[in-house]
C-alpha cells in the first residue's frame, strides 16, 4: 500500500481538520511528515493561547503525529509571518482598508514556506486541511482548484493567491468531505483533537480586539487612530469618530446616534481622516476593481463568459462578468449582475467559473452605481 517515493509534508495546526488530513494521507499509503508552523510569539500573548497557532496547538499536533506514527517538526516562520502578514495587516488598516490576513498568510507565507521546507526535507508534495479540491488534468495541464463540497466550510476564497506553479504539488484530502464527516473520522481514529472547537478569530489578534492590537503596533498618535469627521457623500459633517482604523465598510456600530435613519460606513478617506456614511441603499456597488490579480488558470478570462465572484469569506459567489482584461498583467474590473452590498477595499475578490477557482486579488475600489440611482437620500441627515 506504500506509495513509493511519495513523501508528503502536512501542515498540522493541532486542529481537527489538519489532524484528519494527516490521518487520511497515512491511510492512503503516503509517507507522511507533519509540521507545525510557529507563526508568532504566543508566549507573550496569553489571551491567544486558545487559538490554533498557540503552543497548545504544537502540543496537540505532536500528540496526533505520535498517534499516527509519523514524524513531526516545528518550523519557525515568525520572521516571514511578521513581515508578510502582520505588518501588512497593520499598514492596510492604517490606509483605511480592511485587510484579510488569512489570505495573505495562505498566499505569501504558508504554502511558500511549507514548500521550501518540504523540498529541503525531500518531500514530493504538500498537504493542508483546507476544504478545497484539486482536480488533476489527465492531459498534463495545470490542476484545477475547486470549492470544497461542504459549502459552510469551503475555503477556496482564501487560496486565490497561491503561486500557480505549486498547484501540482498540493493535496487537499478534506475537499470532498463535510465538517461533520471530518469530525466523525477523527472520532473513529480516536484522535486527541476530535472534539476541539473551531478557531475563529485572527490568530495573532488576542481576543479579536483589533483596535488594541493596532494601537500597540502603530506609532503613537498615528492618523488612523486620531479622531476625525464623519461625513455624508455630499461632504456634510455629521459627527466625529475616534480613529478610522476602527471602521470597515458596511459597519453601523461606533457611529454614534442622532441620525434619522440607520447609517452605514460607505467609504474611508484616510488622507482626510474622513469616515463617509450613508443610508443602506448607498452601500451597494455595481462592480469592483482589482489592481493586482493572481491567475491560477492557464487560459485568460473571456469577457463574455459568465463568472462568479466572491467578495468576502462565508458569502456565496455572485454572478458577474469581467471587462476585457489581461489577467497576466495585473488588473481586473468586474461588473456584478446584481449590485452587491459593502464591497470592501482590502478584502479579496475570488473569481470562479462554476466550482473552479480561476484567480483573484485584493479589492482596490468599489464601483459606485450611476448617480441617477443615488438621488433621494437627503433623509440620511441628522434631524
Amino acid at each position: 500500500m506504500k506509495r513509493e517515493g511519495q513523501r508528503i509534508l502536512v501542515a498540522m495546526s493541532g486542529g481537527v481538520d489538519s489532524s484528519v488530513t494527516a490521518a487520511l494521507l497515512v491511510e492512503a499509503g503516503y509517507e507522511v511528515v507533519g509540521a507545525t508552523m510557529k507563526t508568532f510569539c504566543y508566549e507573550e500573548t496569553p489571551g491567544a493561547s486558545r487559538s490554533c497557532c498557540g503552543l497548545e496547538g504544537i502540543g496537540d499536533a505532536k500528540r496526533v503525529a505520535e498517534e499516527l506514527g509519523i514524524p513531526h517538526y516545528v518550523f519557525d516562520v515568525e520572521p516571514e509571518f511578521t513581515r508578510e502578514v502582520i505588518d501588512d495587516f497593520v499598514s492596510e488598516y492604517a490606509r483605511g482598508r480592511t485587510p484579510n490576513p488569512c489570505v495573505r498568510c495562505n498566499s505569501y507565507t504558508k504554502f511558500r514556506d511549507l514548500l521550501r521546507r518540504g523540498r529541503a526535507l525531500g518531500c514530493d508534495g504538500i498537504a493542508t486541511g483546507h476544504y478545497v479540491r484539486i482536480l488533476r488534468d489527465p492531459d498534463g495541464g495545470p490542476p484545477a482548484l475547486l470549492r470544497g463540497i461542504d459549502r459552510e466550510k469551503d475555503q477556496a476564497y482564501f487560496l486565490w493567491g497561491l503561486p500557480p506553479e505549486i498547484l501540482p504539488l498540493l493535496h487537499f484530502p478534506l475537499g470532498g468531505l463535510t465538517k461533520s464527516e471530518v469530525r466523525e473520522r477523527a472520532r473513529g481514529l480516536g484522535l486527541a483533537t476530535a472534539e476541539k472547537p473551531e478557531s475563529q478569530d485572527i490568530c495573532f489578534v488576542p481576543m479579536g480586539n483589533y483596535r488594541e492590537f493596532l494601537e500597540q503596533s502603530l506609532p503613537k498618535r498615528h492618523p488612523s487612530l486620531e479622531s476625525g469627521p464623519i461625513v455624508d457623500r455630499r461632504g456634510r459633517v455629521l459627527g466625529q469618530h475616534d480613529g478610522y482604523a476602527g471602521f470597515t465598510i458596511g459597519q453601523r456600530r461606533g457611529l454614534g446616534g442622532g441620525f434619522s435613519e440607520r447609517m452605514f460606513v460607505l467609504e474611508i478617506r484616510p488622507e482626510r481622516r474622513e469616515v463617509v456614511v450613508g443610508p443602506h441603499q448607498e452601500l451597494f456597488s455595481s462592480g469592483l476593481v482589482v489592481e493586482k490579480v493572481n491567475w491560477l488558470a492557464d487560459e485568460p478570462l473571456d469577457p463574455n463568459e459568465p463568472i462568479h465572484v466572491q467578495i468576502r469569506h462565508g458569502s456565496e459567489p455572485v454572478e458577474a462578468a469581467a471587462l476585457p482584461t489581461d489577467t497576466r498583467s495585473g488588473s481586473l474590473e468586474i461588473r456584478f449582475v446584481e449590485p452587491q452590498r459593502a464591497v470592501t477595499p482590502g478584502q479579496s475578490a475570488a473569481v470562479f467559473r462554476g466550482e473552479r477557482l480561476l484567480g483573484g486579488g485584493p479589492i482596490d475600489s468599489a464601483i459606485v452605481p450611476e448617480p441617477a440611482s443615488q438621488s433621494a437620500h437627503s433623509a440620511g441627515l441628522p434631524s
Partner: protein
C-alpha cells in the same frame, strides 16, 4: 525514521544491566528508607550502599553525595540553595558568576536570581571557546557568593579549564559549582584533586535511569534546601528517596568510569573520522571548537547557507538522529547563546549540527552518517533554501 542514533549528549540508551537492577530493586526495596521496620531498613541499606558506591566512584565521601531528581534539579539546588543561604545570612544582593556558555539550567536559574535581587556576572569567552583565567581572577576580587562553570559544553564538547578555575576559587575562598553533566564518563573528572565545592551530574547521560541526578556537596560547603518537607538527603533534598534509581545511578556511573579511558579513545577516533569525512564533502563547513580541548563524544559543525531549523528533521527522515545544538532548543531558529558567545552575529548565518557519540555508537553508524549527511546537505544547498 531514525535508526542511527548520534544524540548521546541529549540522552543515552539505558544500559541493560542497569535496567535489570532498577527493576529488581524496585520490587525488593518497597519500603520507605525512613521507616523503622524491616522493609524500611532493607531500602535504607540499599540506598546507603548506592551512595557509598557513587562516592567511591567519584572519590568523595558518602556524606558528600546527594541524590536528586536529575541534572537540572541538581544545578538549581546548588544555585538557588546558595542564594537562600546568602539571604538567610543577610547578604541582600550577592554576586553570582557564570561562564558565557552555561547550560540553560544554570543560565535561567541565575536569571531568576537576578530578578530576585542578585547580581550576575558572565565570564567572557576567548575566541577558541575557553575561558581567560585572568578574567576569573578579576571577578574573584569581588568575592562572589558562587561561581558556576561547566566542565564540558553540551553543544560543542569544548572542555573548560575547571581544575585551574577551581584552584583560583579555592585560593580566594570562593565557592565553586561545576556542571559536570556532559563531563562525567567522558573526560577525567576528579573532585578530590580539583578543589570544587559543588558538582552536578545526571544519570541518564551515562546509560542510567531518567530523572536521577547527583549533587556532590563537599564537606564544609554550606547550602540551604529549596524544597521542604522532610529531612532526607542530609536535609538538602527532602522527599522519599528513589532507591532503585539510586542503585541504577551507582551502577551506571561505575560502569561509565571503568570504561572511560578505552571508550574515550574509541569515541574520539570515531569522532575524528566523522569530522574529517564531513569536512572533505561539505562545502564551507566549520568545526565548532576545533582549536580548543574537546570531549571525545561531541562533534559540532556549522553549515553555511541552510535554514537553521531544517537539518535535524531532514536527517531524521533519512534515519540519522542528531540535534541542532542542545536538545532543549529544538524548533528554535535563532542561534543558541553558546554559539552566539563563540561567534557573535556570524552564528546566525550557519546551521548548527551536533553529533554526539556514546556507548552504543558503532563504526557502521559513522559510515551511515558519512553517507547521508553530505547528500542531504547538498540537496538543501542545491534548492537554495538559504538562511
Amino acid at each position: 525514521m531514525s535508526s542511527v542514533y548520534l544524540d548521546h549528549a541529549a540522552a543515552t540508551p539505558l544500559r541493560p544491566e542497569v535496567g535489570e537492577v532498577v527493576t529488581r530493586v524496585s520490587a525488593e526495596a518497597y519500603g520507605n528508607p525512613s521507616s523503622v521496620h524491616g522493609p524500611g531498613r532493607t531500602a535504607r541499606a540499599l540506598l546507603e550502599e548506592a551512595r557509598e558506591r557513587v562516592a567511591r566512584a567519584l572519590d568523595v565521601s558518602p556524606d558528600e553525595v546527594r541524590f536528586v531528581r536529575g541534572g537540572t534539579e541538581s544545578i538549581n539546588l546548588a544555585i538557588l540553595g546558595r542564594f537562600a543561604l546568602a539571604r538567610a545570612e543577610g547578604r541582600g544582593d550577592p554576586l553570582f558568576v557564570r561562564s558565557a556558555v552555561e547550560h540553560s539550567a544554570v543560565r535561567e536559574a541565575l536569571d531568576e536570581l537576578a530578578s530576585l535581587g542578585a547580581r550576575v556576572e558572565t565570564l567572557p569567552l576567548q575566541s577558541d571557546g575557553t575561558i581567560d583565567l585572568e578574567e576569573v581572577d578579576l571577578v574573584l576580587d569581588a568575592s562572589p557568593e558562587l561561581v558556576s562553570v561547566q566542565w564540558v559544553n553540551q553543544e560543542t564538547g569544548i572542555v573548560l579549564p575547571v581544575p585551574e578555575i577551581a584552584d583560583r576559587c579555592h585560593a580566594a575562598g570562593v565557592v565553586l559549582h561545576v556542571d559536570a553533566v556532559q563531563a562525567v564518563g567522558r573526560v577525567k573528572v576528579d573532585p578530590d584533586r580539583t578543589p570544587l565545592n559543588l558538582m552536578s551530574l545526571s544519570a541518564h547521560k551515562l546509560g542510567g535511569p531518567r530523572a536521577m541526578g547527583v549533587l556532590v556537596v563537599r564537606a564544609g560547603t554550606e547550602l540551604r534546601p529549596i524544597l521542604f518537607g522532610g529531612g532526607q538527603e542530609g536535609g538538602i533534598r527532602p522527599g522519599t528517596e528513589d532507591v532503585a534509581g539510586a542503585v541504577g545511578t551507582a551502577l551506571a556511573l561505575e560502569l561509565a568510569l571503568q570504561e572511560r579511558e578505552p571508550e574515550a579513545l574509541r569515541l574520539s577516533s570515531l569522532r575524528d573520522r566523522l569530522q574529517v569525512g564531513l569536512s572533505g564533502t561539505i562545502e564551507g563547513m566549520r568545526v565548532h571548537g576545533a582549536s580548543a580541548p574537546r570531549a571525545p563524544h561531541i562533534l559540532s559543525i556549522g553549515v553555511p547557507g541552510l535554514p537553521r531549523d531544517l537539518l535535524p528533521g531532514a536527517l531524521d527522515l533519512e534515519g540519522i538522529a542528531i540535534s541542532a545544538g542542545s536538545a532543549c532548543r529544538s524548533g528554535s531558529t535563532t542561534a543558541s547563546p553558546v554559539l552566539r558567545a563563540l561567534f557573535g552575529d556570524a552564528a546566525e548565518e550557519i546551521a548548527p549540527v551536533r553529533f554526539s557519540l556514546g556507548r552504543t555508537t558503532t563504526s557502521g553508524d559513522i559510515d551511515a552518517a558519512l553517507n547521508t549527511v553530505p547528500r542531504v546537505v547538498e540537496r538543501m544547498q542545491a534548492l537554495g533554501v538559504g538562511a
